[in-house]
């Protein structure tokens, strides 16, 4: 039992890194998703094209391939970023691309009459977006955004493959040190599960708070 408890301090240290990456990537991904999602509904063809290319590239290639590309190929162009930064930026870009589709879908689901009414009331384009469209689209974004957060949390495990000592990496280290494979991976899985449950509960609370009445 004692040596089971001894597994926890290093694993919790790893969990802290995992949470840091999840949080950092989420903070970057939200504005990225909003910008790319709105850009996809833009009237300007160039804006639409740029956002479509971004979304398709990051949704169409694998997250792990993206991590490796940024980690191994960018230094060849003379751009050497620390692994942690690569992890956060790539996961944010990946989540942002999926998030952009959520934003686009939610904006498209706002009834056209709302925009027409805004035009009739002589609101400017930015007023229409800020005061009419986004507030109504926001509640529809929440449930899929919550799922994406959990996907992001799960994707952070991939950064262990570019040498970041997150929860998964700690688990692997402990495994080679102690060979208590079963216990270690059960604890690691349960820790991820616990974080995911907390996230789900948080999103549920937000959903209740922003429900359209």
């Amino acid at each position: 039992m004692d040596d089971l408890l001894a597994l926890f301090p290093p694993l919790l240290e790893g969990l802290a890194v995992t949470l840091q990456i999840t949080f950092g990537a989420a903070v970057l991904a939200v504005p990225l998703a909003l910008a790319a999602g709105m850009a996809r509904t833009s009237r300007l063809r160039a804006v639409r094209a740029v956002s479509t290319v971004y979304v398709e590239i990051f949704r169409g290639t694998s997250a792990l391939v993206q991590l490796f590309w940024f980690y191994y190929v960018l230094p060849m162009f003379g751009l050497r970023l620390p692994a942690l930064l690569v992890g956060i930026v790539v996961l944010a870009a990946n989540a942002g691309a999926y998030g952009a589709e959520v934003v686009r879908g939610a904006i498209a689901a706002v009834p056209p009459g709302q925009r027409e009414a805004a035009v009739a009331l002589n609101l400017t384009a930015s007023q229409t977006l800020r005061r009419i469209v986004l507030p109504q689209a926001f509640p529809a974004m929440l449930p899929p955004a919550g799922n994406l957060m959990i996907e992001l949390l799960k994707n952070t495990a991939l950064v262990s493959l570019i040498t970041i000592t997150d929860l998964t990496f700690r688990g692997q280290l402990l495994r080679s040190e102690t060979l208590r494979t079963t216990e270690i991976f059960v604890v690691v899985l349960l820790l991820y599960f616990a974080v995911a449950l907390l996230m789900t509960a948080g999103v549920r609370m937000l959903e209740r708070r922003f429900r359209i009445r």
Partner: protein, 223 residues
């Protein structure tokens, strides 16, 4: 000074990458076969009237969906052999992919099953069909076709998760490109090619899924 992207080198390594792509595609297809089968079992278990059947299925789906595939893969890779069950890394990886996506497929099937009108099931009871005939002849033919596009999307998602197999020593596309990189000290061409291959294939697959979706809409819609 070598060029930034050496097209000759890229052309040279393409056949090797093509070989590895076969493993990737193989893993995706067999993994999906496991996922759609196991997923259906889980979805049907979740509908069971006995909680002792439905509760574990619900827990498995939730647990598998909210923990990382990579850790699940490590779990199977390192823990299964200690129970005396040893499989090749590729088989282990395919099993992990299959189980992971089975949880997602179970949710997809659930939506399909919930969309079946109750009246048709009541009619099956009225006609005195056995439970088996009701399930196979009435329930599933109505539940499954509408969710095929959603399953297709998970096929594409699984394809994009196959690079994780490289973490458990399977030489699939990504691992092959890393091996080329470590022997030639050029990562740009192999890794960019891998990215491009994933992009082209997943866009093509997504296009096929949309076609199927369009066809299904002609026959009474999708759920």
């Amino acid at each position: 000074m070598k060029p930034i992207f050496d097209w000759n080198f890229a052309w040279e390594i393409l056949p090797t990458l093509g070989q590895a792509l076969i493993i990737t595609v193989q893993a995706t297809l067999i993994g999906m076969l496991v996922a759609v089968t196991l997923g259906l079992v889980l979805a049907l278990m979740r509908r069971a009237p006995l909680w002792i059947v439905s509760a574990p299925a619900a827990f498995i789906v939730e647990f598998v969906r909210s923990t990382p595939l990579l850790v699940q893969m490590y779990f199977l890779f390192y823990v299964l052999p200690s129970t005396g069950l040893s499989m090749s890394p590729l088989t282990t990886g395919i099993l992990a992919l299959g189980v992971h996506y089975a949880a997602y497929c179970a949710e997809v099937y659930r939506a399909g099953l919930e969309g079946v009108p109750r009246g048709t099931l009541e009619a099956a009871t009225a006609l005195n069909l056995s439970r088996w005939r009701t399930a196979v002849g009435v329930l599933l033919p109505q539940a499954i076709p509408p969710v095929v596009p959603a399953l297709g999307n998970y096929l594409v998602a699984m394809f994009k998760d196959t690079p994780l197999l490289s973490a458990i020593t399977v030489v699939e596309l990504l691992q092959q490109s890393k091996m080329i990189g470590s022997t030639t000290f050029r990562y740009t061409e192999p890794l960019t090619l891998v990215g491009a291959l994933f992009l082209v294939l997943s866009l093509a697959a997504a296009w096929c899924v949309r076609r199927v979706e369009g066809r299904l809409k002609l026959y009474g819609g999708t759920r």
